[in-house]
């Protein structure tokens, strides 16, 4: 039977079709900027560039003309196609894989989310992008629920993991969430990789059902939310939960069982935690960029961690996220992880508001379950916060909103 490569919005693309389309494609554009981020065309373009060994730059299809201008890309380049002179013919998946792995000078550039200033371009080799990709017999039968933007680092990680094992990818991002239950059953999905936000938003569609096919659930792209673990285990009884630390700058680096990240043996000399508990990564682990600010040979991730022992750490917060309330430092993530447990809360983002009395105070924007009364929920939130948090960590003002704004790579906007 012809193995399926991608299922997306009701369309099924097989590996044979993918290979045919690659064989037919006689020209290319080094800029990949695809309307609606159609995953088939993005994946096809990436594979094509690997086969013909030319470097590419991936731009989020959501980029507006202004954003493109900001990152220095002139839209005229999108119509400049080059012809391939020495066409090759791929016969089957194995020759496709050989060709991909032979690709030497290939690189892929993409942009950071720009939470601190304008997006920065980072260039990766196949080696840095696939650092944690595992290939082998035991991965052959995996079927992936693909729940990331395909132009972002987390999406690329899942894409390579699936492609290099000839797995099927079921696209569940961007409007496909409500179909997840049907898709899991129809395609017997084994692996789900998504952000905490994605899991929170699909629970209402999955609750009450049990999906035995799912063997592994991975969290990536944003802070792991341990309060989701029990719910996930009820819905997916056979599941193993993993948590990935990856960044646009360095690709995938650490994997955690629960909240304890392990620094793998192979990169132990290239990871450091300084006196201020900031996580530093040696430049050799990074992609290339003109925009990195290095401290000697080290890149400061801006992530505050807690060192458990020489090879393990917990993620605490982003340095830029720390709020100062009357001299007390508050990590908004801690507050979010506490308040998400309050019944009726679907999602929330904790932010700060400046004032002359305490410098800053915490406020929180909440997406609530429609069945809950606003005043009752406000009272419950404050009561719960007062009981479980120090008083300066209690958000003072609670607002209800429809949706939490996010940066392109899925981080909550705390402005």
């Amino acid at each position: 039977m012809d193995k399926k490569f991608l299922i997306c919005a009701g369309n099924e693309y097989t590996y044979s079709q993918l290979i045919d389309d690659i064989n037919t494609k006689g020209n290319f554009n080094p800029y990949i900027y695809i309307n609606d981020n159609n995953p088939y065309w993005i994946f096809l373009s990436i594979i094509h560039s690997l086969i013909y060994n030319y470097s590419i730059e991936i731009l989020d299809g959501d980029f507006s003309d202004t954003e493109l201008k900001e990152v220095g890309v002139d839209t005229k380049v999108f119509s400049n196609y080059e012809n391939i002179t020495n066409r090759v013919k791929i016969d089957d998946y194995n020759s496709l894989l050989d060709k991909i792995l032979m690709s030497k000078d290939w690189s892929l550039s993409l942009y950071t989310s720009g939470t601190t200033g304008r997006p920065k371009k980072v260039t990766h080799t196949l080696k840095t992008l696939t650092r944690n990709v595992k290939i082998g017999e035991r991965f052959k039968c995996n079927v992936w629920a693909f729940a990331y933007n395909p132009t972002h680092i987390a999406g690329l990680q899942v894409f390579f993991q699936a492609l290099l094992n000839q797995n099927t990818i079921v696209y569940t991002f961007s409007g496909q969430q409500k179909n997840l239950s049907d898709l899991i059953q129809k395609y017997q999905i084994t692996n789900v990789s998504a952000t905490s936000t994605f899991y929170r938003n699909v629970f209402p569609y999955l609750q009450g059902n049990i999906y035995k096919s799912v063997k592994r659930v991975t969290f990536g792209g944003e802070k792991y939310d341990p309060s989701l673990e029990n719910k996930i285990k009820m819905i997916f009884p056979n599941v193993l939960i993993r948590n990935i630390y990856a960044s646009t700058e360095a690709g995938s680096l650490f994997v955690a069982n629960g909240e304890n990240f392990e620094i793998p043996e192979s990169i132990r000399d290239f990871v450091r935690i300084n006196e201020a508990n900031e996580l530093l990564i040696h430049k050799s682990l990074l992609g290339n960029s003109d925009s990195f600010t290095l401290e000697g040979d080290w890149f400061n991730t801006g992530d505050i961690v807690y060192q458990l022992d020489s090879n393990h750490f917990n993620f605490i917060s982003r340095k830029s996220d720390v709020v100062n309330v009357g001299g007390y430092k508050v990590n908004p993530l801690e507050v979010e992880n506490t308040l998400i447990k309050v019944e009726g809360v679907i999602d929330l983002v904790v932010k700060s508001k400046k004032n002359k009395v305490t410098g800053e105070i915490l406020v929180v924007d909440v997406v609530k379950d429609e069945n809950y009364d606003e005043m009752e929920l406000k009272k419950n939130l404050k009561r719960y916060a007062t009981k479980h948090l120090q008083e300066w960590k209690v958000p003072r003002i609670i607002k209800f909103i429809e949706e939490i704004p996010r940066t392109r790579t899925g981080k909550k906007v705390r402005k």
Binding site: G326, T358, M375, K378, K379, T386, R396
Partner: protein, 75 residues
């Protein structure tokens, strides 16, 4: 104005599970009569600024309900 500000303070108290204050007069102390601590005062200034666009602590300390109203009305 007096009613609106009293409403904002009472809403704050209610959300925090505290007793509302019924009979409000201008000489009442924010700290002693309304029982607002500094975090609640900070909260009040943010709420008032959202509502009226005025920072009541901008030029010094306010201690009574009347002073708050005065600051808001002056703008």
């Amino acid at each position: 104005m007096t009613r609106k500000v009293a409403m904002i303070i009472n809403e704050m108290l209610e959300e925090s599970g505290l007793e509302k204050v019924d009979n409000v007069n201008l000489s009442m102390s924010l700290r002693d009569d309304f029982n607002l601590d500094s975090l609640m005062l900070a909260e009040l200034t943010v709420r008032l600024e959202d509502e009226f666009g005025v920072d009541i602590f901008e030029d010094g300390i306010v201690t009574t309900f009347g002073e708050v109203i005065e600051k808001l009305e002056r703008k």
